[in-house]
């Protein structure tokens, strides 16, 4: 075996230029796989982060049926027990309570339908980016019960600025009576998410509870975990633990299913890239192997004549392909890591681009991981060896007498 390894290694460097070019083709393929994968991982992270860190949170708890009916009377059942459990959960970094209701906003110039959130300003900060997105005025504080935050697009539509008066109208829980409350615009935000910037109003939790007639009760608890992957890895367990007392706990995959579909689609893009790269590798190897085979027909004839069994000759050619793969994989890993690292300083600017209901809020940076440098190279190596079985089988079945007649 050692002898054949030595023979194979020397053989691949017989025609250095050809070996380099073939290695380069395979290496570029592998580098492309690593690079695309690194960007897709980066894009996934960015999409999840954009979707969950702007406002959604990584998981939410609601009363059963609330999200479907939007019935403001369906507040979270036994909220003290739920919050106590969340306080004691080591996987939970932060959580915040909210009310959620549909209503209208009236200004002297116009009126619009909006979603009104009651938020606890301090506990909201680790869950969302409202405070970081203020472009005018200031973020809420717990005692500013007559202040409201509105999105930039909504402000433009209503023609209002900070300090202007607005009236929020909601339907009260239980009776369904309309309740109108006067607020002043305390701040204008731009979160680069169309839905939030044009349709959403934030007031303090206390104001919202008072308007809705649900003192002390909330509709939603948004949660952030200590690890970003927790919702992906332990989402089911979390849902089971917190879906109690008539409440339902869901992670972002259930709350934004379209995002999950897009992320699943990215796995398909990786698969397509892998297939294309492997097609390149197939043609590269078959071409090189057949060129080498025709050049070395007489030599293979000599090897067979002096007693090399057909299977051994086939193995020798497969080992040669393996040696070529090792060379190419090394080249590909260096290229792939190099390109990804070079582009990691600039990243890809998709800020503001909306995809599957998620708006990218930051640049996408490639993320290198172990799989790209273990699984893909191993796949390339195994695939190269497997593909070489075709020319190797062809060579081993060649008539010895005919091979010896063909000296190029």
């Amino acid at each position: 075996m050692r002898f054949y390894l030595k023979l194979a290694w020397r053989n691949i460097f017989r025609n250095r230029r050809r070996t380099f070019l073939t290695g380069l083709i395979i290496g570029i393929g592998l580098a492309a796989m690593i690079f695309v994968d690194a960007y897709i991982v980066g894009m996934k992270d960015s999409m999840i982060s954009s979707a969950t860190s702007s406002f959604l949170g990584q998981a939410q708890i609601h009363r059963q049926g609330f999200l479907d009916s939007q019935n403001v009377g369906l507040t979270i059942s036994q909220p003290e027990r739920v919050t106590e459990q969340l306080h004691g959960d080591p996987d939970v970094r932060a959580f915040t309570e909210r009310t959620l209701s549909f209503g209208t906003i009236s200004a002297p110039a116009d009126i619009a339908s909006v979603v009104i959130y009651g938020i606890a300003p301090e506990t909201e900060k680790p869950l969302s980016k409202i405070d970081e997105s203020m472009i005018d005025g200031s973020y809420l504080s717990a005692d500013q019960n007559s202040s409201a935050l509105i999105g930039q697009r909504l402000a433009e539509r209503l023609g209002v600025a900070v300090g202007d008066r607005i009236v929020l109208t909601v339907s009260r829980a239980g009776s369904g009576e309309l309740s109108q409350t006067l607020f002043r615009v305390g701040g204008i935000f731009n979160m680069h998410i169309n839905e939030l910037d044009s349709l959403t109003v934030f007031v303090t939790l206390k104001s919202a509870q008072s308007m809705l007639g649900i003192d002390g009760r909330v509709h939603e608890i948004a949660i952030r975990f200590r690890r970003s992957q927790y919702a992906v890895e332990q989402g089911t367990q979390f849902s089971q633990e917190y879906s109690s007392y008539g409440n339902v706990a869901e992670t972002w995959q259930q709350l934004v299913p379209q995002l999950k579909y897009v992320l699943d689609m990215t796995n398909i893009s990786i698969a397509v890239t892998v297939i294309l790269v492997f097609a390149m590798i197939v043609f590269g190897i078959i071409n090189t192997m057949f060129m080498a085979l025709y050049e070395r027909t007489f030599e293979f004839g000599v090897l067979r004549a002096v007693g090399t069994r057909p299977g051994r000759l086939r193995n020798l050619i497969v080992i040669e392909a393996g040696a070529l793969a090792v060379y190419a994989v090394a080249l590909g890993m260096i290229l792939g890591a190099g390109i990804a690292l070079l582009s990691s300083s600039t990243g890809l600017d998709l800020t503001g681009v909306e995809l599957a209901g998620t708006t990218f809020t930051s640049r996408i940076y490639p993320v290198l991981n172990l799989r790209q440098f273990t699984l893909y190279p191993l796949l390339v190596f195994a695939f190269t060896c497997a593909v070489s079985l075709y020319p190797a089988g062809h060579a081993s079945r060649m008539s010895v007498a005919r091979a010896l007649q063909r000296a190029l």
Binding site: L7, V302, G307, T308, P310
Partner: protein, 232 residues
Amino acid sequence: MTDRKDIVLTKGVKKDYRRDSVVVHAVQGIDLAIAKGEFTAIVGPSGSGKTTFLNLISGLDSPTEGDVWLNGEHISGMSGNQLSDFRRDNIGFIFQAYNLIPVLNVEENVEYVMMLQGVPAEERHRRVSRILSDVGLEGFNDRFPKAISGGQQQRVAIARAMVTRPALVLADEPTANLDSKTSESLLDMMRQLNRDTGMTFVFSTHDQRVIDKARRVIVLEDGVNVRDEIKE
């Protein structure tokens, strides 16, 4: 089945092959016996069937009809692996050129067949040293084929063919690409090795120098043995 002294025995051996839809009768029923220790030349013009006949008696090709025995074994019905093993253990080959594996050095080229036989490294090294000394290439072990002359390459091929002490050494036009002085010296060397070891040599050639040195000359024309002459 064969006389114990016969290394090669053929009975009614024929070989037809197709070339562009035309059937070529390359060998047309040759009966022949070559005894142990002979130094035989198979001669004839191009296309007379010399190489085809050599391929048939060495198991590199299978006959369309007839039987071949080599060293007492009926090789016509052997499988691919059986033939490979049989050639490895019984036949040494010398071709006209491009004989050696270019990525192996002289020692590795010579020991290759012994590796296939499973001869231990120490024994291989001992035998390689001795045979390289016999063919006048002492100290050439580490050189690669491209670093030595054509004549020296043929000596290495002879060493490789003989190092396993095969029953038969087959040489197809071994002097075709060599100058006359080198050819003469190689032929003398092979003749001497034939005398010293008793190994059987069969050449396919139309080189008059080889014919002159041979003890037996078999003449083929159009795939038929037209003359068989044993010199005194």
